[in-house]
């Protein structure tokens, strides 16, 4: 099973200064369906870079 390419429209931190407390806004468009009806659901995983 090959994963579709998730399209990220926006990955916008409120600050890019090192060590800053931020809010991170992400907008994305799915190209692979998940969470099909009658199943136990799916999940979204956001892996943060080392040091975050």
């Amino acid at each position: 099973m090959t994963a579709a390419h998730l399209q990220i429209g926006l990955l916008q931190p409120s600050s890019i200064s090192a060590g800053a407390d931020i809010a991170l806004e992400i907008k994305m468009t799915l190209h692979g369906s998940f969470n099909f009806g009658g199943t136990a659901g799916g999940r979204i995983v956001i892996e943060l870079p080392p040091g975050f």
Binding site: L6, Q7, A18, I26, N35, G37, V45, P49, P50, G51
Partner: protein, 151 residues
């Protein structure tokens, strides 16, 4: 467009584990639960070597089809405390059997230095016998740190 706004509940008490909560959503058809980081074995690897992740478990039974647009706002995240190489995020979706259905690992942030914007150094008096060229001045803070005064 489904919108999920997520906020960290409290400061992490152990490495690799953060608690998040939903503070706003308009996706009433898409029930959500358990915004948390799993326990990961960061204790021996160290924080800088061990990545962390935010996992959103979807509890609903309504399909999220292809072309569905989703917007997240995650708060309570702290940027890496140093600049340097780009910080790469990996975002993926998984189905109920943990098969990856969507993947993006190309998103990068370029972190800017924060505190020290410029620095000058002068030598302490006990180093006056050393013969130095212009290059060695930059080596001295490492070799003779206690004798170099930063202003």
């Amino acid at each position: 467009m489904p919108i999920l706004e997520i906020q960290m509940v409290e400061s992490p008490k152990e490495l690799g584990r953060l608690e998040f909560k939903v503070v706003g959503t308009n996706a009433s058809l898409y029930l959500t639960k358990n915004f948390h980081l799993p326990t990961v074995s960061c204790q021996t690897e160290g924080w800088l070597n061990c990545g962390s992740a935010i996992i959103l478990d979807m509890n609903g039974t309504v399909e999220w089809p292809s072309t569905t647009s989703i917007s997240f706002k995650l708060s309570g995240i702290r940027n890496r405390p140093f600049s340097g190489p780009p910080a790469t995020f990996r975002i993926l979706t998984m189905d109920f059997e943990n098969h990856v259905t969507d993947l993006n690992s190309t998103m990068q942030l370029h972190i800017l230095p924060n505190h020290i914007r410029s620095i000058t150094a002068r030598l302490g008096s006990d180093l006056t016998n050393l013969v130095m060229g212009s290059r060695s001045l930059f080596c001295l803070p490492i070799l003779y740190h206690r004798n170099v005064i930063f202003t």
